[in-house]
Symmetry: C2
Subunit: 451 residues, 2 copies
Amino acid sequence: MKQATIIGSGLVGSLWAVYLTKAGYKVNVFERRTDMRKTIISAGKSINLAMSFRGWKALDEMEIGDEIRKIAIPMYGRTMHDLSGNKTYQPYGINDQAIWSVSRGDINCKLMDIAERTGNANISFNEECTGADLKNGIVYLKNTQTGKASEHKSDVVFATDGAFSALRYNAMQKLDRFDYSQKYIEDGYREILLPANADGSYKLEKNTLHIWPRGRFMLIALPNFDGSFTCTLFMPFDGHEHCFNNLTSKEKVNNFFKTVFPNFFEMMPNIADAWEDHPLSSLAIIRCFPWTHGKTALMGDAAHATVPFFGQGMNAGFEDCSVMHSLMKKHNHDWEKVFKDYEIMRKPNGDAVQDLSLLNYIVMRDKVADPTFLLQQKVERRMAELYPGNYFPMYSMVSFSEIEYHVALNKGKEQDEVVLNMIKKNNITQETPSNKLDELIHQFYGEKIKN
Amino acid sequence: MKQATIIGSGLVGSLWAVYLTKAGYKVNVFERRTDMRKTIISAGKSINLAMSFRGWKALDEMEIGDEIRKIAIPMYGRTMHDLSGNKTYQPYGINDQAIWSVSRGDINCKLMDIAERTGNANISFNEECTGADLKNGIVYLKNTQTGKASEHKSDVVFATDGAFSALRYNAMQKLDRFDYSQKYIEDGYREILLPANADGSYKLEKNTLHIWPRGRFMLIALPNFDGSFTCTLFMPFDGHEHCFNNLTSKEKVNNFFKTVFPNFFEMMPNIADAWEDHPLSSLAIIRCFPWTHGKTALMGDAAHATVPFFGQGMNAGFEDCSVMHSLMKKHNHDWEKVFKDYEIMRKPNGDAVQDLSLLNYIVMRDKVADPTFLLQQKVERRMAELYPGNYFPMYSMVSFSEIEYHVALNKGKEQDEVVLNMIKKNNITQETPSNKLDELIHQFYGEKIKN
C-alpha cells in the first residue's frame, strides 16, 4: 500500500486525506495543534465561511456533500444596510443559487471524522513540522508536548498547513529560485457575535449575507444554526477617520457603532463589552512558486492564501483537491507528472482568486452602496437571463461554476466594460422601462452575433 | 559606553562598524563565516564590484576613501564588443568621472581591518544568528564550529547579513504585518576569469568596463590589478536559444563562445575548461517593509537586495550608512526616532535602486548595441554639457550624485521621453551637424525657459 503524508489537518488537509484514502493510500496526517474535537470551542469562537459551487463539487465527488449540507445554511443574496437602516436586497444568482454559511470549526471536525472513518487515515496531533527533505519525501517533526523529534518518510508529501505553512517556511522557502511574497493589506478585522433573540430566533433575516457597506470599511454578518450571526468588521488599522487604532475605549467603540452602524447598535447595545472577545487580526495575500518540489506539493492556503472577500479561500483549496485528484488518475499516480501539471494549471488560478478577492472587497464595502453599480448589476442580470450562453456575470462564474478563476477574472473585466458602455451610450437608468432595456440588449447581441 | 550589535561583517556591516565606533559605540560584530582574511582566496574567486559616488562619499566621510582608492581601478566608460569584434566606446560621464572596479574580497578584508583598528569593534566569526528579540535588542547565536548557543544584548542591533539575512528570516519575517517578497529573475550568472598575458599585461583596455551585448544576454569584464579581468556571463537559465541549461558539454560551451563572443574566445580558447570553476548562480530582488522594529534595523542587502546591473548594491548599502549616521546625529542617538526616519526615507530609494537595476540590465545587454540608444545618449550628453543645470543624465544622477534614487528614476524616465521626442520631431541622426544639434537644444531650452 502506498504511503502519503499530509502536513496540517485543516479543511484542505482533512478533505485531501479522504481523497487519498479512497484512492488506496495509507495516509498519515500531522497537525501542530491539539485535536479541536476534544476542545470545547467557546461561544463565538467560530469563524464562518461561505461554501459555493467549487467546494460542493469536491465534497460531492467524495460523496460527502450531503453530510456537510446538514451543517450549512444557504444565503441566496446579499442584504445591504444603509445609515438609516434601509435595506436593499440583491440575489446572488438565479433560481435557488446560493452560497452557504458554514462554521469553520464544525466542518473541520466533520471532515476529520470522515477521514478517520475510512480506516486508512491517521491524524497525529501536536506534531510540528520543523523541516523536510522535499526530494525524498521525508518530513521532520517535533511533538509540541513531549519535545520529541521524529521523522517520517513516505511516497508523497502534501503541505496543507495554511497561509504560514511550516513546511513551506522551513523547506520550500529555502530553495534556490523559489519566488515568494507576503503582502498585508492596510485593513484588519475583528469578529463580533450577534446573539439570537431570547427565544432563539434570528435578529436579522436568516438566509442572506448582511453587509453594512461604508465606503472604506464594512461590517458583515453570516448566520449560524443557533440563531446567532457571526459578524466581522473590516477596517484599516490606521491612518483613516475610522480605523481600529482610533477605537481605544468603550466609549469610542459605542460612539463608532452608534454613528456608522445605528441599526446594528440597536440590536447589540453591549457591543463595547463584547469588543475584546476576539483579537484584532491582519489580512495577507501570499504568493509563491513553484508549488511542488521532488515528492512534495503545497495545496490550499499554503500555496495561495488570500484575503476573504470573495469567500473563495476554502473553495479554491477544495478545488485544488479535485484537480490534483483528476491529474492523479490521468497520470496513473505518477506524481512527478501530476505535480508538474498541477502547478502549471493551478498557479494562474491561485493568482486570480487573490485578485478577485481584492476586487470584491471594493465591491462589498463600497460599490454595493453605489446606484451605478446596482444599475449595472440589474442590466447584467437581465443580459444573463436573455442570453444565458453569452453573458455570465463574474460573481456567478466564480461562485456557481467551475470556470477557471483566471478566465472568470478576465472575462468579468471585459463584461464590466460592455455593460458600462451600454448604460452610458443609451442613458439607461433605473427608470428605463423593462421592455426598452430588453430591446437594447437584443439590439446589442443582434449586432454582436452578426459581426 | 553604549553597546551596538551588528550581524554580518560583510561590506556594509564592516563599514557601519567604523561609523559606530567613531560615534562612540562599543561594537560587537557577529559573522556566520570564518575570517576571510585567514583563508587563501583561490584565484578567480573574487567578485568585482563598481564603486561610484555614493560609496566614495560614505568612505570619505569616515576618512578612509584614500585607503580604498589604492585597491580600486577607475573605469571611465563602457566598451561594447560586437560580433565582428568591433568596439564602440561611451564615456560614463564628463571629465574624469568614473566608476571603480574593486574586488569584493579585498575591500571587505580592508574594511574589517579598519573597523578592528579603531579598538572598539570586535568581530566574532563562525557565529550564526538563530533568532532575535527585536524589541529588547537581544540576538541569539550559535557557534557553527562548537555548536555552542549564546545570546547577546545591546542598546541597538543592525542586521547587515545580506540578501538572505538570518536575522530577517528568523525574526523579522515572523512579525505580524511584515511585507516580504523575493523574486528571482529568469537569468543566472557564471563568472569566468580572463587571465593576464604571460608578461602580466592586460588582454583588453584596462580602464573601461567591457560589454558584449547580445540582446537577451551579455558578457561583461571588469579589470583586476594583476592584469586579469573578472568576466561574468548573464543569461537565462532556460527557455531561450542561448541559455545555461543548453550548455551541457565542453563542445557546446566552445561552440557558444565561438559563435556569439568570437573575439573573447580568441583571447580564451580554454574557456570550456574554466567553465566549471565557478558555480552557476541565481539573481533575486528582495523587498520588505518595515526595515526596523524595536531596537533593530535592517541595512544594505538585508533590506533591499538587488540584481547587480547598475552596480549600485554596495553603493546603496554604504549610502544607508551615511543616512543612518546623519539621522543618528540629528536625533542625538534617539534610535526610535532615527529608525522611523530611516525607513521612511530609505524605503523608496531601496525600491528605486531595484527598479533602476532591472532597467539597466536591458540597457547593458541590449540597448547599448542599438543605434537609437547611442544617438539618444549623444544628444543627452550634449544637453547636459550645454544646460548642466537643466539636464542631468539618469546614469550620472545614479552614479555621480547623491540625488535620491527614486528622484533619479522618475526624472530619468521623464528626460528619456524629452530626448526621444526631440530626436523624432527634428529627425536628428548621427549625421546631424553639431551646430544644428546645438541650435535645436538651445531652441528647446529657450522655449522651456520662456514657459
